[in-house]
Amino acid sequence: MGKFIVIGERISVTAPTMRKAFAERDPEPIIQRCEQQLKAGAHYIDVNIGPAESDGEEVMQWAVKLLQERFDNVPLALDTSNMKAIEAGIQVYNRSKGKPIVNSADAGSRFNRIELAANNDAIVIALCSADGIASDNDERMAHCQRMLEEGLMHGMEAEDLWFDPLFLVVKGMQDKQMEVLEAIKMFSDMGLNSTGGLSNNSNGMPKHIRPIFDSCMLAMAMMQGLTSAIVNPNDQRLMETVKTCDIIKNNNLYADSYLEI
């Protein structure tokens, strides 16, 4: 098995400084966050430009070129609901370090993102929900199956569909956590790749608690076979957990300095 893939989530318009930087096409704050995440060990960088309905194509192309030119063609996840913006981003994307990731498709109104990924030889994050959280794993796996078939029908390799069980917030949905973890095991048993916005589990918790929950959830999810996550790589506890689990799972050869590389 390959190493766990960390997708850095910190370039997102949900953060005010990023929203401002995208709006003003100010490269510095974006470059800075990308550099911090890569230094901490992120493999992919998520670029969340929001819905970007008016200027999405231009913004995405600007961001893709900005980051790839600066950081040796760093592989990116293109994160927006604007399909045209994703396609525009892929047009200028250099895939020498990895295929682009379309973030994201689902089994509801974003179902056609799978075909978009297939047409552009991209990876797609396939969220196992339709237009609401799946009520149980029967429903989750039905979505998974439907999206997998759609991808294969359009000529994708199964490995390019990364299934997202949809991590749920503990404060409010505590009784659903094991179900999410069981879904990951089902993906893994089918030989499928998986990912997701893992830190959703700790939403609303105090700042000092979140890294504890995130790293515990990550370790449990990796045990179940999770192959990637969209996380904050600058959370040291979390990254230490990723690296240590990778050693225990024999995804990476142990050396005394493993935390430093």
Binding site: L253, D256, S257
Partner: protein, 314 residues
């Protein structure tokens, strides 16, 4: 339905490392497939052979064909000149056995003088092998690296105990190539590469000696180490293990009883030189299949055999 074999070329590659300078310089590594899997993707640089020359010259050698090959040679430089003519040889390995403080304790100055004489006499890349005393070797490698600056030599080896001095001198100050040596310990093999890179030695200046053993003498440990290193470097894209592997074969095989016990003591075993050649051939071929990018050998007959073996598999 027609059968289409799936190509197993990896996204990761073994680093290509160049030794020596000028027309006779050589490059090892660079492949993105398992050893000899040229049907999966082209292998840019075939595995190579270096000829070992000891600073003991031919003292104690009980192999008539080997003695005949080097007949008339009185210095390491004489032998190196002769070794350069050996079919299948791409580099010369100078083994300073007598530098060992617990044996002859040949001085650093004397070793440097011999190395310089060889460097002036031959054009092939040079590999410097020490006496296994980490302290002496550290000083020896520094002095020879300095004296042969610009020759792009490989020093064998930096070990856990002396990687700082060897890495800083040979690898950085004098811009030579450094062999990182670990004794069949995959975790240490990786750790040494990490430490050398943290020290500032460029990855492209590092080769690995992940251990060596004669066939039948714990070779299975070496074999599994080679396999695991290749799997990590290629299948797991582990940049800290993508250094090409250089394996000293002759220093191991020429000292075991199969290669040394006189025929009159073991009449059933046959000619002692034949046995030594066979030990060298068995061990070198197994190392190459495991993933060594260069093997260090001694006898012209075994070198010719292994050279043909490599060519026929490429």
């Amino acid at each position: 339905m027609p059968f289409t074999p799936k190509k197993q070329a990896f996204n990761a590659r073994i680093n290509a490392v160049t030794l020596g300078t000028g027309d006779k310089s050589v490059t090892i590594g660079g492949e993105n497939v398992l050893p000899f899997y040229s049907f999966d993707a082209p292998i840019p640089n075939k595995p190579l052979i270096a000829a070992e020359i000891s600073d003991k010259l031919l003292a104690g050698v009980n192999a008539p064909a080997l003695l005949a090959f080097y007949a008339g040679c009185e210095t390491m430089a004489d032998m190196a000149r002769k070794a350069e003519t050996m079919p299948g040889v791409s580099a010369i390995c100078l083994h300073f056995e007598t530098a060992d403080p617990n044996a002859e304790n040949t001085s650093i100055e004397e070793c440097v003088a011999k190395a310089k004489e060889v460097a002036d006499a031959v054009e092939m890349p040079l590999i410097i092998m020490g006496c296994k005393n980490v302290e002496k070797d550290g000083k020896l490698f520094e002095a020879i690296s300095s004296a042969l600056e610009g020759k792009n030599i490989l020093v064998l080896s930096a070990r856990e105990e002396n990687y700082k001095s060897v890495g800083a001198s040979a690898g950085m100050a004098y811009n030579q190539k450094v062999g990182a040596e670990s004794a069949v310990d995959i975790n240490l093999a990786k750790q040494l590469n990490v430490l050398l890179s943290q020290l500032g030695v460029p990855a492209a200046s590092v080769c690995m000696n992940v251990g060596s053993a004669a066939a039948g003498y714990g070779f299975e440990y070496l074999s599994s180490t080679l396999d695991r290193v290749k799997a990590a470097s290629l299948a797991q894209s582990d940049a800290q293990l993508q250094m090409p592997i250089v394996t000293p074969v002759s220093p191991e095989t020429w000292v075991v009883k199969e290669a040394t016990a006189p025929e009159d003591e073991n009449p059933g075993w046959g000619d002692v030189e034949e046995r030594a050649i066979e030990m060298e051939v068995c061990t070198a071929s197994a190392c190459l299949i495991g993933g060594s990018n260069m093997v260090i050998m001694k006898h012209p007959a075994s070198i010719a055999t292994i050279s043909q073996f490599i060519d026929s598999l490429m």
